[in-house]
């Protein structure tokens, strides 16, 4: 055993600590919006079937990093991303990667519930339709029901699937958006402050849902609420001014963080 090189020892230790596989790996990720730099060489890994929370004060780059993970930043005109992000073994910024396929694998739920102004059924069925995941009416019925079940919305809406999705309450709309994301069977679901527009009861329901979704999906969630990060996540990453300050197990992060800035932020001294 003492023949083992130092690197190999470290690797073995790492493996023991993180015996959960890494789903996405971000290496030296930097983002520029025109002249302005929003992220500085962020190295952050996302573990499989884990909820990773990104916290930090407003404008710290946590949403920017999240949007790098499914290349939503591509839709912003003067945004430039450097560094490397992999999903399993694929470099997602590789020119050969199809962004449409990437976004089918990495789904997204937005801050404000944004159902399409169509029926609940059509909202959920839209993703499977454009990705050719379902062919027959029965297929669609099945995927719609399964997705709404997953999102915990089925019992509330099963009698009014053909009413408009915009007629639901805010919390129901957000769960509909989650069902819509789930319907294309993604591997990773990104959530950008999914509860910031919801009341506490709806928030509790969504958090419960996130907890259940973890068994099937890898989740990355941006949140402003420290309590929420503590409640739903297993890993937490703290951003400040475009830098990744600290990444740690959530328990450790909220009890004994390694970095003074994390401590200060969690205690409410700034932010």
């Amino acid at each position: 055993m003492n023949m083992m090189s130092e690197a190999a020892v470290e690797k073995a230790l790492d493996k023991k600590m993180n015996d959960i596989a890494l789903k996405m790996i971000g290496k030296d990720v930097s983002v520029h919006y025109g002249e302005k730099r929003a992220l500085y060489d962020v190295n952050l890994n996302v573990r499989e079937n884990t909820v990773t929370a990104l916290i930090g004060p407003s404008g710290c780059g946590k949403s920017t990093f999240l949007r790098c993970l499914n290349r939503m930043n591509d839709t912003i005109d003067n945004c430039k991303v450097t560094g490397k992000i992999t999903l399993d073994a694929d470099d997602i910024y590789d020119p050969n990667i199809d962004v449409v396929e990437l976004r089918a694998r990495v789904g997204m739920v937005f801050q404000k519930p944004n159902p399409f102004p169509k029926s609940i059924y059509e909202n959920v069925a839209y993703g499977p339709k454009i990705h050719g995941l379902a062919r027959s009416k029965a297929d669609f019925d099945q995927v719609v029901e399964a997705s709404l079940q997953r999102a915990g919305l089925w019992n509330e809406v099963k009698d009014r699937l053909h009413e408009s999705g915009t007629g639901l309450s805010g919390g129901q709309q957000q769960r509909l958006c989650i069902a819509r994301a789930v319907a294309v069977s993604p591997e990773v679901i990104l959530m950008d402050e999914p509860c910031s527009a919801l009341d506490p009861i709806a928030t509790a329901k969504v958090e419960e849902l996130i907890h259940e979704l973890r068994t099937n999906y890898t989740i990355v969630i941006v949140t402003h609420s420290m309590q929420q990060a503590a409640r739903v996540s297993q890993r937490t990453a703290m951003f400040h001014l475009g830098h990744l300050v600290e990444e740690n197990d959530t328990d450790k992060m909220f009890t004994n963080p390694d970095d003074q800035r994390t401590q200060d932020y969690i205690m409410g001294r700034f932010g």
Binding site: V100, F110, T166
Partner: protein
């Protein structure tokens, strides 16, 4: 004066609340004044609208009625086919002396001595000069009528029509009027015999143009305007919407697209007569399309309508919330799927409203049509957009230049028809908007 020293060093004395000079009275007065200005402006507009509509309707409603004279006509063989050759030579039926048949009929009805030529001529003038042609068509279609007496309804001459509608001032000396006292007497005689009556003026919608007001109609103009609208709709809607989608959703934002945007806005403000000149030189002189054809008119009006549609469509696309776009892209929709599945349906009400406003504008446009020759005298209804035609506003323009009294009511009647079409189109725009409107 002694300074009261505040008990706490450095603190401002809270004794007197800061005097607030917010001028509540002045503010309310300003608000009242502004409301008064607004009401005055609206009243001014409404008064003129009512004035316009009441003038047009007062002058024009009579155009929808037409005086007709129904008299028994003896279709005598002696006058039409004296040599009895119609079995071998049908052209005698066409060349026959129908004016004499009509004249004899009215003379007989009024009981005038056929030897008094002035009176006979005056009596014959009471019936439209189109009557002999009407009779000829009747006989040619059914030669069995020859030798019988049938009741035929003829249009009255335009002057008798005006007199019957009370539009001729009988206090004017007889020599200065178009209708003589004798004719008025005969008219009343026919009236008491029940031979003269006002009927709905179907000819106004079906006949082509004519120099005889009683036979002039909007048929050609209506068909011409219909062709124009169809061509403008078929060309400007797809081109305009495609151009705006490209500019708004796909084109890179750079100096070139800025320049294009500025130019589109400028084109919307170019006087329409300039488009007429463009159409004349490009479509008629260069491309060799026929003059006076509604095809060329439609192309010119398409060019004129495009900027309006593009501006309205871009505004409608921009009004679709970005969250819908993110939602579609986040699900893995391509940009084109995002546009056609989500953005375009939501922008549809705005696009349709813009399109119909553009079409309504094109429907009322006169100047460019004058330059491409759509101001011609066209009597036959065009079968295709390549045949000579006029359009509603041009027909109004032409009738407004006519001298006869009967064209005055027809001009206003045509304006009413045009306004009705515009109201219908705007109603359509409102209904479509309601139909497509969705909440998000």
């Amino acid at each position: 004066m002694t300074n009261i020293v505040s008990p706490v060093a450095g603190a401002v004395s809270p004794a007197a609340a800061p005097r607030r000079d917010i001028g509540i009275k002045r503010r309310y007065a300003a608000e009242r004044r502004f409301r008064a200005y607004g009401i005055a402006a609206i009243t001014f507009g409404v008064v003129f609208l009512i004035l316009l509509l009441s003038t047009v309707i007062r002058n024009g409603y009579t155009a929808f009625q037409q005086t007709a004279i129904t008299i028994p006509v003896e279709i005598s063989e002696k006058l039409i086919d004296p040599d009895n050759k119609r079995a071998t030579d049908p052209s005698v039926l066409i060349a026959a002396n129908y004016p004499a048949v009509v004249r004899d009929a009215i003379v007989k009805q009024l009981g005038i001595d056929p030897s008094k030529r002035t009176e006979v001529r005056e009596a014959a003038a009471m019936i439209s000069k189109g009557a002999p042609i009407q009779l000829r068509n009747l006989v040619v279609a059914n030669p069995a009528l020859i030798g019988t007496t049938v009741n035929v309804t003829f249009l009255a001459d335009a002057n008798i029509d005006s007199a019957n509608k009370g539009q001729i001032d009988l206090n004017v000396p007889e020599a200065n009027r178009k209708v003589s006292d004798t004719q008025i007497g005969w008219m009343n005689q026919l009236k008491s015999a029940g031979a003269i009556e006002k009927q709905f003026n179907t000819g106004l919608f079906t006949s082509g143009n004519s120099s005889r007001p009683e036979a002039a109609g909007l048929g050609v103009a209506l068909v011409g305007s219909l062709y124009l609208m169809l061509i403008v709709l078929a060309l400007s809607l797809p081109i305009g919407v495609a151009a705006s989608i490209y500019l708004e959703e796909f084109a890179p934002k750079n100096k070139l697209t800025d320049l294009i945007e500025v130019n589109i806005n400028n084109l919307a403000a170019v006087p329409s007569i300039v488009y007429g000149l463009l159409g004349l030189s490009v479509f008629i002189n260069f491309a060799g399309f026929p003059r006076s054809a509604s095809l060329v008119g439609g192309l010119v009006l398409t060019l004129m309508t495009l900027p309006t549609i593009i501006i309205a469509t871009r505004a409608a696309l921009r009004a679709v919330p970005p969250s819908i776009r993110s939602a579609a892209l986040g699900l893995g929709a391509s940009k084109m799927q995002m546009v056609f599945h989500h953005v375009l349906p939501l922008a549809m009400p705005g696009i349709l409203t813009g399109t119909i406003i553009g079409l309504a504008h094109a429907l009322g446009e006169t100047a460019p049509l004058l330059l491409i020759g759509m101001v011609a005298f066209v009597a036959d209804i065009p079968g295709t957009p390549l045949e000579p035609s006029t359009a509603l506003p041009v027909q109004i323009y032409m009738w407004a230049n006519e001298a006869e009294r009967a064209f005055v009511e027809r001009t206003s009647g045509a304006i009413i028809v045009l306004l009705l079409f515009l109201i219908l189109m705007n109603l359509g725009a409102i209904l479509l908007r309601r139909r497509f409107e969705r909440r998000w």
